[in-house]
């Protein structure tokens, strides 16, 4: 396990969530769950973040924002769809303005279901994301070596 998975900094974006999942994301930072134990820090800055937590379903207004945040993050990076809406569109799936889950805008690595999602599920999803982050780091390193 390298330092990459010991210090995952997250950025959280609310696509069109009802705020239920957003509150649970922030709950994970409180003394009860204290994710800073694992080096997880909530940055407000895509350029500093490794893990992108998206809550809520995607509509035409927020798609470019999600894509821009995703593009501003540096490799290796992992996207976690947090909550039923971000996974599939949830109860809003058939609404006229909804395009679907987070994966309708950007590639998603881990899905964390639930309505609202439980903080334990978010932590599990992030920990699962760490494995993927580690793989991506190894791939990046191999690509750098091949370039030389």
């Amino acid at each position: 396990m390298s330092s990459t998975s010991k210090s995952p900094w997250v950025i959280h974006y609310d696509a069109s969530s009802c705020n239920g999942c957003d509150i649970e994301v922030l709950a994970a930072l409180t003394p009860l769950y204290d994710v800073e134990r694992f080096g997880i820090v909530n940055t407000g800055n895509p350029k500093h973040a490794d893990i992108f937590l998206v809550t809520g379903s995607v509509n035409d207004r927020c798609r470019p924002v999600i894509q821009q945040i995703y593009d501003q993050m540096l490799e290796p990076k992992v996207v976690v769809a947090v909550g039923a809406c971000a996974c599939t569109g949830g109860v809003f799936r058939d609404c006229y303005n909804i395009e679907g889950g987070a994966d309708s805008a950007i590639p998603v690595d881990v899905y964390a279901p639930g309505c609202a999602v439980r903080p334990e599920t978010i932590i599990d999803a992030v920990v699962q994301g760490l494995g993927i982050l580690e793989q991506k780091r190894a791939a990046l390193k191999a690509a750098k070596k091949a370039k030389r």
Binding site: S2, S3, T4, E36, R37, G39, K47, H48, L74
Partner: protein, 289 residues
Amino acid sequence: MDLISFVIALVAFALVAPFLGGLIKGADRIITARIQDRVGPPLLQPFYDVQKLWAKQSKPVNDFIGFYVLMSLIFAILAGAFFFAGGNFLMVVFVLTLSALFFVLAAFSARSPYADAGASREIIQVAAYEPLVILMAVAFYLASHSFNISVSATLEKPLICEIPLIFLALLFVLTIKLRKSPFDLSVATEAHQELVKGAITEFSGRTLALYEVMEWYESVLFLGWVGLFFVFSAGWSWFLALGCVIVVYFLEIMIDNNFARVKWQAMFKWSWLVTLVLGFINLFALYWI
């Protein structure tokens, strides 16, 4: 101070200070977490962070930002080396100001609104703390009749007995220099909504890693300034200085956790008020008593 002893001090400071600084930062994060009733990250977390940032993809916003941050780091190391080699205090102050200047340049070079706001605030912070630093140099000279820091180890009684008010003013200004709340205006760790990350918003990957390391060097240097007030000719005074440094840093953590960020106007007003009142009373006392 001859060249060889300076080079030895430079190498020693460049190698040892980041370890100390990283451990201080790690302890800081654990104590902060305990104050907030959390467990907190491992002690070595700052090292993991920097190692991770170093391994990230390199995508600087322009060609200069990395150079500016590197220069800022190098001048911070030089300033620390001058200080711990027992060199001239004025030299330390000037080199450190150059380091701050390069940091502001790095923040401005990105032309992003958040980084610009952070950079402007960093300039205001420099303007807020610099008068005290200069007064401290003057007071140091009046108390020890030299600008050389090595003189402090030959004094009959520690500087704190001669210039206690300057020490209090330094404690006030130290909060600005260590970028801690209530004066964490330029690089706020908790101001996501307001500033994103302030001056370091556009730093990423290795540039951010260099900045983190520079902070470690700076914190060791500033804590050295605190220790300077307690060192005198007796050998045990070094332990006294170390103990006082630990107490002062703990106090800083408590202040950090107990105060909300103030507006820059308030920071400017208070720091100048404290500097001028405490500083000048102490200088006049030194001069005439």
